[in-house]
């Protein structure tokens, strides 16, 4: 059960950790001083940084706890890393379809009692934020990734619980408590880039899914590495998308993940494949596969199935298969990603064929990975079923 949580945890944790050690390439810079032949890479693989860091002084996740809302929607600054992760598929009345990603990561560079906190400066902070946004224009076959980095100071970036607000510059996610369920929120996100603008209202249609053991998500079997983790797997989404002068009123569904932790992981995998689908029969499915260096699937791979009412169950590594069918080669990074998949969950009598809405959905900022909107069609109990979703693929680049 817990491993369901960990996949999302791992992928995001890695991104956040990469912010810490990879950005501006301090590590690379030290290397370059010692051996000048090491050049600063323009981009880094999302999976490339897995170094152990010193967690002394940070809060640790040691077991299940009761979530307290709305406080737990806000930041947990004494833990090292945290993220707010929103992806979705939307469609206009005239049939224009879009996928979007709006994700904000928080990373603390130092424990709470560090001298940085005592500096007389309004820019002093232990908290740093990274935001990744992207819009996929299905009809136009276009994909626009963008990223922002900022210190969590001077109101340039930050996170508040009340009122709920997480932002990096003018990319924002805001919300207020909803009576629909325990801990539920109605939210709104606004993003403006040089390529596009979007603004969505987000309303939960299912209760929160507390991942792992009541939201306690173990990353390793011994429980030394774990996170607090919950999700809103289905959010009714309405709003607009604008590309240049074209404005589209849209609606659709979104998926929202919340996770925070301090623990580090040892690296033995080369990357992972992550899938999250919202099927038309009301079922939400999440699956992931950790890929070992030898190409094998790690036993830590797992999934979760959430039914129409929000009841969920875990799927273990031996309860599903992922079969890559067609590969696509990125022109930007020369990485080759498997983009068409056949997924089988025999216990649910479920077979799904996964296709990206646009092939080129590779996020090519400081970190490169493929994260994109997909369509699924298949059968459940031999009845046709379709759906939408998001897939994340990492570790396919040249080493």
């Amino acid at each position: 059960m817990s491993s369901v949580a960990s996949i999302s945890g791992i992928r995001l944790w890695l991104i956040a950790l990469t912010v810490l050690t990879g950005l501006g390439a301090f590590g690379v810079f030290v290397n370059s001083v010692e051996s000048p032949s090491v050049a600063t890479p323009a981009t880094a693989g999302l999976e490339s940084v897995l170094g152990a860091t010193d967690d002394t002084g940070f809060a640790r996740v040691s077991g299940p706890r009761d979530f307290i809302f709305p406080a737990d929607h806000g930041p947990h600054p004494n833990f090292r890393t945290e993220w707010w992760y929103l992806t979705g598929n939307v469609e206009s009345l005239d049939g224009s379809r879009f996928g979007y990603q709006m994700t904000i990561f928080r990373s603390a560079t130092a424990p709470p009692d560090s001298p940085v906190a005592a500096l007389e400066s309004d820019l002093a902070t232990r908290q740093y934020y990274m935001a990744h946004v992207a819009l996929t224009d299905v009809r136009g076959g276009r994909y626009f990734p963008h990223e922002k980095f900022s210190r969590g100071a001077a109101n340039i970036a930050g996170a508040w619980a009340t009122p709920f607000r997480v932002w990096v510059e003018n990319w924002r996610l805001e919300g207020q408590p909803s009576d629909a369920c325990e801990g539920c929120m109605v939210m709104r996100t606004d993003v403006k880039t040089d390529d596009f603008t979007f603004s969505f209202g987000l309303k939960p249609v299912k209760p929160l899914t507390l991942q792992g053991d009541r939201g306690y998500s173990k990353k390793t079997v011994d429980g030394k590495n774990a996170s607090h983790y919950f999700s809103m797997t289905r959010l009714a989404t309405t709003g607009f998308v604008r590309i240049n002068d074209d404005r589209y009123e849209v609606q659709g569904t979104s998926w929202f993940d919340r996770e925070w932790s301090t623990s580090s992981l040892g690296a033995s995998q080369v990357g992972w494949d992550w899938f999250a689908f919202q099927l038309e029969d009301g079922t939400d499915l999440m699956l992931y596969r950790m890929r070992g260096k030898d190409g094998t699937t790690d036993p830590a791979s797992a999934g979760t199935l959430v039914d129409e009412d929000g009841q969920y169950q875990a799927i273990s590594a031996d309860e599903f298969t992922l079969e890559p069918l067609t590969r696509w080669k990125s022109r930007d990074t020369a990485a080759s990603y498997p983009l068409v998949w056949r997924i089988r969950v025999p216990g649910e009598n479920l077979v799904l064929n996964v296709k990206p809405v646009v092939d080129a959905q590779e996020h090519t900022g400081l970190f490169r990975y493929w994260e994109g909107a997909v369509r699924v069609e298949g059968t459940r109990d031999d009845q046709p079923v379709t759906g939408v979703g998001y897939v994340e693929l990492t570790g396919y680049g040249a080493p």
Partner: protein, 831 residues
């Protein structure tokens, strides 16, 4: 053969050649040193500003050279790619003045990528430690190793941070630009510099027509401006241009003196050898043989001496660069000049200049030698006859030169080049007339000489009159050399006295309180000062700077009494009306340098960025102020508060009932509560002393150059007179042979040199005063816009004369001793 003969001649006349050699070498050295120093400072400025500016095209800055963090937040919240910077000077480990560059590596990825690459949030604060980084050179210059803890002092506080790593900025230029810099996270820099809530500026990269610049402008609060980075840096560069020109002029003056000396030396070399030349012509050498021999000799001497001069110059350049950089730091802005930038082209230029000057100076003597008929070369009378013609010709040229000089000097405008050219022509013109005047001057003095020295002395004096071709030119050369040093000295002393005078008038209060940069006092503090027993009166104001495209404008807003205001108004004006206008209308008074830089005069309008947008203030007057050569805009506090919503006070002047109580009252003020402001209490005399110290430091460069000119002049005088005396040894031998005692001969020799020394000293006086007058009233005004009182210190005049006479006497000693020691027959045989 002729060349070898020439070289032999140079070797034989060792002392002569050595002195000429020294003269040329020092001249070339000065040119090289001045060139290198101003190049290094300019380059240092460019590199350090490039290093900090990076690729920024626009700056956002506000009053006082700072901008509120909230402005930055606002721009970022609008999603605009603004990049913050916090920079200032700090002291490392109590010993090394470094510039701290505080950046936000997360957003500073393109503007200062040479820094941004090196640092990240992981370096600055991973584990929460306070860390900094430097180039390896910067670290070792401060004696810091990776891992060391550093005490960083600034703004009255001390912070300890660790050097976490060193980094290689990639390019030599940046390596140099960062040679005394320490890089830190922007938050640490804010803390260290006491700049919480403030940034030094915000940088942008944009094309001039970018839409987003207009968006930026709309988001800026009053008083905060969007400025073009290039024009800011141009404005700073312009400020040092005057300094550069002045230095270059001093270098050329040194060369001019050098040329006179070379001419002198070569002339004597030719004159001394006229017998040899006569013999050579008699045995068939052509005119061209003779001329080329002399010119080649000069070229060789010039080449060797200039090469030596270049080496000397480079050594000298180090001192000169440090002094110039100090001046730039004192007067203009913080520069980072740690490396001397040696420009091969400059060196080549100096070498060629040295050789050409030597050859040019030898040209007249060479031509003169070729005109000599074989037989006539042996006769001195012929030489003197032609010298007479020469001197009439020289008089004509001199008159033309002086006419040109006057024309150049009265050309209106602020160009420095005509001023220096005018000065040059004036000196040349007067110098050309001196040989003509020498006989008359000595003739005038003959009765006196006879009375004091008797018949022997008269013989010496008569010799000077008879041999004008040699003595006249020597006296002129010496007079020019002496007058140049005298002129510069008088200029500096006039300036210094004017400054002291001005400090006396301007510093009316007994005790001054100044708030540390960035902090502010308030009116309750002023009230507390007023209530101290023994305080008669308190005036206060606020120094700040307004950003403008032509560089920052220093504004001083004062709350003062009619009395205190009096020194800004001319005596012929109604103080009462002026004071009322000062308080009630939107008027400003501007200092002379400001008027000069902006080409403004009374009655003009000056646009300043107020809270309500740009407002055109009436320039009600121009006043004398030596505080800043960028200039100052003075306005009343009432006007300031009306137009700029800023109640800050950072300067308070306290007048006491009894000035002798200043120490006690200083202590009392120092203990006053001041909320958050850090302030310093300074007595009147401390300001005065500090001002004069900075003044003296500023003119240290000039003094070094003056010293060099004195050395060149000294060498020249000794060289010229020695040549003359050696030339005379045959005459002296004859005098000995006809029965004069060694003492009598020595007396004749001494009178000769003494008379020439005195003559050149006397000619130097009017020449020196004229030079000083032009420096004070033309060059200085055009460089900085300052007016100053012209003050001729008699001590400096006497020093000049003493230099001439002393050098003349020194030059006479060696030949005289030789005359005295040698037997007449030996001397005669030698010839």
């Amino acid at each position: 053969m002729l060349l070898r003969a020439g070289l032999r001649e140079l070797v034989r006349r060792r002392t002569q050649a050595l002195l000429a050699f020294c003269g040329i070498a020092v001249g070339a050295a000065v040119v090289v040193a001045v060139d290198t120093a101003s190049d290094s400072v300019r380059r240092g400025f460019e590199i350090s500003s490039d290093t900090v500016n990076g690729s920024a095209t626009h700056h956002i800055s506000g009053r006082g050279g700072v901008v509120d963090v909230a402005v930055y937040s606002r721009l970022r919240a609008a999603g605009l790619p603004a990049v913050p910077l916090v920079t200032g000077l700090v002291t490392l480990n109590g010993d090394h003045t470094y510039r701290i560059i505080g950046i936000d590596a997360l957003v500073d990825t393109s503007i200062r990528s040479h820094l941004g690459r090196t640092v990240d949030i992981g370096a600055f604060g991973d584990g929460g430690e306070l860390t900094v980084t430097m180039t390896p050179g910067a670290a070792s210059a401060a004696g810091i190793k990776v891992g060391d803890s550093i005490n960083i002092d600034a703004a009255g506080r001390s912070t300890i941070a660790r050097l976490v790593a060193t980094f290689d900025p990639g390019e030599d230029v940046y390596e140099q630009g960062l040679a005394t810099s320490v890089i830190a996270d922007i938050a640490l820099a804010q803390h260290v510099l006491g700049m919480k809530g403030r940034l030094s500026r915000i940088d942008l990269v944009a094309n001039a027509d970018d839409q987003f610049l207009r968006v930026v402008e709309r988001l800026l609060p009053p008083g905060v401006q969007l400025l073009n980075a290039q024009s800011q840096s141009d404005a700073q560069r312009d400020m040092v241009r005057s300094l550069d020109t002045n230095l270059a002029a001093l270098g050329l003056l040194a060369l001019l003196i050098g040329v006179f000396l070379i001419y002198n030396t070569m002339t004597f070399s030719v004159v001394r050898r006229r017998q040899t030349i006569g013999i050579l012509r008699a045995i068939g050498a052509t005119r061209w043989n003779i001329a080329s021999r002399i010119l080649l000799e000069a070229a060789l001497l010039g080449a060797a001496a200039s090469a030596t001069g270049i080496v000397l110059g480079l050594i000298l350049a180090k001192t000169l660069t440090a002094l110039t950089a100090q001046t730039v730091n004192d007067l203009y802005f913080e520069t980072e000049v740690t490396a001397i930038s040696v420009d091969g082209l400059n060196l080549a230029k100096a070498w060629i200049l040295g050789v050409l000057a030597t050859v040019f100076a030898a040209m007249l003597p060479a031509i003169e030698a070729t005109r000599t008929e074989p037989r006539a070369a042996l006769s001195r009378a012929d030489l003197e006859t032609r010298a007479g013609r020469w001197s009439r010709w020289a008089l004509g040229v001199g008159v033309v030169a002086m006419f040109l000089s006057v024309l150049l000097l009265v050309v209106p405008g602020n160009l420095l080049l005509p001023a220096f050219a005018g000065l040059f022509f004036l000196i040349v013109g007067l110098a050309l007339m001196i040989p003509l005047l020498v006989p008359s001057l000595v003739r005038l003095a003959l009765p006196l000489i006879k009375k004091i020295g008797g018949f022997d002395a008269l013989m010496g004096a008569r010799y000077i009159i008879r041999s004008t071709s040699r003595t006249g030119v020597a006296v002129a050369a010496l007079a020019v050399a002496v007058s140049a040093t005298m002129g510069v000295a008088i200029m500096i002393s006039s300036f210094r006295l004017s400054l002291i005078d001005w400090l006396e008038t301007r510093l009316r209060a007994d005790v001054y309180v100044t708030a540390d940069s960035g902090t502010s006092l308030d009116s309750s503090f002023v009230d507390r000062v007023k209530s101290i027993e023994g305080v008669r009166n308190v005036g206060f104001g606020n120094w700040t700077s307004l950003a403008s495209d032509a560089g920052p404008i220093t504004v001083f807003a004062i709350a003062t009494t009619e009395d205190g205001f009096a020194s800004y108004v001319r005596a012929d004006e109604s103080l009462k009306d002026r004071f009322t206008q000062f308080g009630n209308d939107n008027v400003v008074y501007i200092s002379e340098p400001f008027a000069h830089r902006r080409q403004l005069q009374e009655g003009d309008r000056l646009a300043l960025p107020t809270d309500a947008g740009e407002l055109r203030f009436l320039v009600a007057g121009v006043y004398k102020d030596y505080r800043s050569d960028r200039g100052i805009v003075l306005m009343s506090r009432a006007t300031w508060l009306r137009q700029f919503n800023d109640p800050a006070i950072n300067a308070v002047g306290v007048v006491l009932d009894d000035p002798s109580q200043s120490t006690r009252i200083k202590d009392e003020i120092a203990q006053l509560p001041s909320d958050s402001a850090a302030f310093e209490v300074i007595a009147n005399h401390e300001i005065r002393e500090a001002s004069i110290k900075i003044f003296d430091r500023t003119f240290a460069v000039t003094n070094v150059l003056r010293l060099l000119a004195v050395i060149v002049a000294g060498i020249g005088i000794v060289s010229a007179l020695m040549a003359l005396q050696f030339e005379r040894s045959r005459d002296f031998a004859v005098l000995r042979a006809v029965g004069l005692t060694p003492g009598q001969v020595a007396k004749i020799a001494s009178v000769e040199t003494l008379c020439m020394g005195i003559a050149s000293g006397l000619f130097a006086v009017p020449l020196g005063i004229l030079t000083a007058w032009i420096l004070v009233h033309v060059v200085n005004r055009r460089s900085f816009g300052w007016t100053m009182d012209f003050h001729v210190d008699p001590v400096l005049i006497l020093q000049g004369i003493a230099l001439a006479v002393g050098a003349a006497l020194a030059a006479g000693i060696l030949p005289t001793l030789r005359v005295v020691r040698q037997t007449p027959s030996a001397s005669l045989r030698n010839e």
